[in-house]
Subunit: 236 residues, 2 copies
């Protein structure tokens, strides 16, 4: 039975981390909210599920409903060979994903520091200040951490964890994609100092299933509604 | 062998979620950074561990080093009977914890919306705006979600997951403690609408090991350095 993915239909957002894992796994899935009446179905699920997700994305696998991006990837990783089988390796992979989640939350807050309920235009000044710290301190600090992990892992410098691809390689690829869209100048500058991260990003983009996915209409283009938004005044 | 917990020694912060689980489990642990030279030891671990944590807290169990609060609780929950043994229940518990993590991050950002590198005094105006949304919209929305979960779980309305205590009961207790310190007026008002959440908080406080811990010097008092800070101008 195909998985059902529930996420906002017009943005990559947090759902994209799940889409990339499903695509790389070659798993059959329905992107429910992109179908006719799909958003209404999603809203009903959130209200009535025995284990209601606090927010999209969530994944339905038979009777099981799983929310929270990192928890979904923990679940899919174990089922599709996208994480180490040993518990220590699996937990370490999850820890890397949780750090990516923190990074993504900060990327969002760079343009929405005052609150999710307000428009960007109502918090431009605050965003200008927050984005400066994000560009100058946080992007380099996070990327350097991933560079260290790639350097320290003994098995293969091309993957964050162990000798083969895991879901965190896909997620780091997606974060670099998003940062390159939102903060092209700052990201290009930062990537020069983390060659292993840059190489991992490029290698993921060349994987056959990922390349095919990125070229398909299933990949929603970046836009000004998602987590990663390009406001030129926030980049430098 | 005793666990080693690594976290900032003067605040409850994210480390407190781990401390509560260790205390309820009756597990032996050393709060390393509160010992002499402990912070230096913590910094060296972050730099040199094979799996370096991005930030405290992290837990050392023999040779295994685990970072990210939710990942640490996933690990401890399975070892100390603080989570369901079946995979679906374990993952659902983890999903609830990840939602609590999001809630905690928003509680922090209410007083630090512009960035972690700036003092509160340098972002007071922005905090005033952000705290308003947090108080009026986010606290009620999150607490209502927990109330629904308590209501919907068929086994026991006193616990978030299943018939007995899990680590997310402890974590929700801690969030209510923190909110009550930081936003006493808004939290008291919000708790009136979620009686099951309020009752769970009170029941956790009465558990023998938790009561003993809260009365001990191991419990660091809330203060103006942690995640939950009381600025009267942000409450109403």
């Amino acid at each position: 039975m195909a998985y059902e993915l529930y996420y906002w239909p017009t943005i990559q957002g947090r759902g994209e981390f799940v889409r990339l894992a499903l695509e790389e796994a070659g798993a059959a899935y329905i992107d429910v909210a992109r179908k006719s009446e799909g958003i209404a179905v999603m809203m009903r699920m959130m209200e009535h599920a025995e284990h209601p997700p606090f927010a999209p994305p969530f994944l339905k696998d038979g009777e099981t409903v799983i929310g929270q991006t990192a928890a979904i990837l923990l679940y899919l990783g174990a089922r599709h060979g996208l994480a180490p089988k040993d518990p220590t390796g699996g937990l370490w992979t999850h820890q890397v994903q949780l750090t990516l989640s923190d990074f993504v939350a900060e990327a969002h807050d760079a343009h929405h520091p005052v609150g999710v309920g307000l428009y960007y235009e109502d918090q431009k000044q605050e965003a200008f200040r927050r984005a400066q710290e994000f560009r100058d301190d946080r992007i380099p600090k996070f990327l350097n951490w991933f560079e260290i992990i790639l350097d320290r892992d003994p098995s293969d410098v091309r993957h964050l964890v162990g000798p083969s691809l895991t879901y965190v390689d896909l997620s780091l690829f997606q974060v670099i994609e998003g940062l390159s869209y939102a903060f092209p100048k700052a990201t290009q500058r930062a990537l020069k100092k983390v060659p292993r991260v840059a190489a991992l990003h490029d290698a993921v983009a060349e994987r056959p299933r990922i390349r095919s996915y990125l070229a398909s209409p299933r990949r929603i283009p970046f836009n000004q509604e998602g987590i990663f938004r390009h406001y030129p005044e926030l980049d430098s």
